[in-house]
Assembly symmetry: C2
Homo-oligomer: 203 residues x 2
């Protein structure tokens, strides 16, 4: 009744990949325009110029479609932030690069991040554990290299991730919020939280 490909039987056909990409694109635009609550299959299909039933044919359910939308947006964001953090000369600099990169990416990609937040704020399957795990790994490495004090990497990563997730809402709801200042405040907050004491003082 519906193609359950990818990690199943055959790879997806060309037309299937094209349709899925088209539907995902229409979904992003629809969510960004009318919000998650009103982004029904009927609206998404109308925007894409297809029948609503076709979405169910290509996706196992609404969860899979929304999950794909979220995954696409996050993949682009992770790549952009990763590039910024790649050249950091220390774990402290890497932490600052991740925080600053995230805030600036939010400021520069409002539609996507707004859609992502709409999804996360409406029970979408955003699976934050990847992000938390990556942050925890970076923090643990920084500890082992002696840059960071002792703390639970997982709980600190969880706290940092939560702080980052709060950024888009504040950035978009308050027009006067200065992205650079927000990034500096956040970076300073977590620098103080993770660094060893008495090393040096700045800011």
């Amino acid at each position: 009744m519906r193609p359950e490909n990818e990690s199943d039987d055959q790879p997806r056909s060309f037309i299937e990949r094209a349709r899925r990409a088209q539907i995902v694109r229409a979904a992003v635009e629809t969510i960004a325009e009318v919000g998650f609550a009103k982004a029904s299959f009927a609206r998404i299909a109308a925007r894409a110029g297809i029948s609503a039933g076709l979405i169910s044919y290509h996706f196992a359910g609404k969860d899979e479609l929304i999950g794909q939308v979220a995954a696409d947006i996050k993949e682009a964001m992770d790549r952009a932030i990763g590039e910024r953090a790649a050249g950091a000369g220390s774990y402290l600099a890497a932490l600052r690069a991740v925080i600053g990169g995230f805030v600036h990416y939010c400021a520069e990609h409002r539609a996507e991040m707004y859609a992502l937040r709409e999804i996360a704020a409406n029970g979408g399957p955003v699976e934050q554990d990847d992000a938390v795990g990556q942050l925890a790994g970076m923090l643990r490495d920084g500890q082992e290299h002696g840059e960071f004090r002792e703390f639970s990497p997982r709980l600190m990563a969880l706290t940092l991730n939560a702080a980052l997730e709060a950024v888009p809402r504040e950035l978009y709801s308050r027009a006067d919020t200065d992205a650079a200042a927000y990034a500096d405040e956040l970076a300073s907050t977590f620098e103080r939280a993770v660094r060893r004491e008495g090393l040096r003082r700045r800011g």
Copy 2:
């Protein structure tokens, strides 16, 4: 067609208040039991032993009902945490009391906090600005009394609030998470983020 009382015309009648309370109670239990997505008016009404239409009669819409559910839960939580923080002898102690109080309240009121998180995670109108504003006020007071360093009280409050909101999920999804340790880690993290430097060292 429906009573639009409270801050409108007459006060609510006794029977109206009783019905509203009964419906809110049934909604909390239903959300905690089957999750937000499946907590329909039909299910809530069935649990309360009334018709679904009666909910629409007493509440302007689903948003008002869910908002009332969230408000009731948060009011009880705020009172409990406020009691713990009332006796603090310093702003740093008050900060620690709020963080510790929140974590322990989460650990001790799983059903309510689970329902609240379900609501917040599904686009419910949880209005976090009250909490953020209160935290910001406390932080600002601590700055004016010279206990805290200079930072943006609003952005720090936003960051702290986000960190607190991440607590229930972690606490409930990982059975081995130690609430007391989580509270200590969080308190230590934010203590380091807000305090002046070089005053003293602990932990």
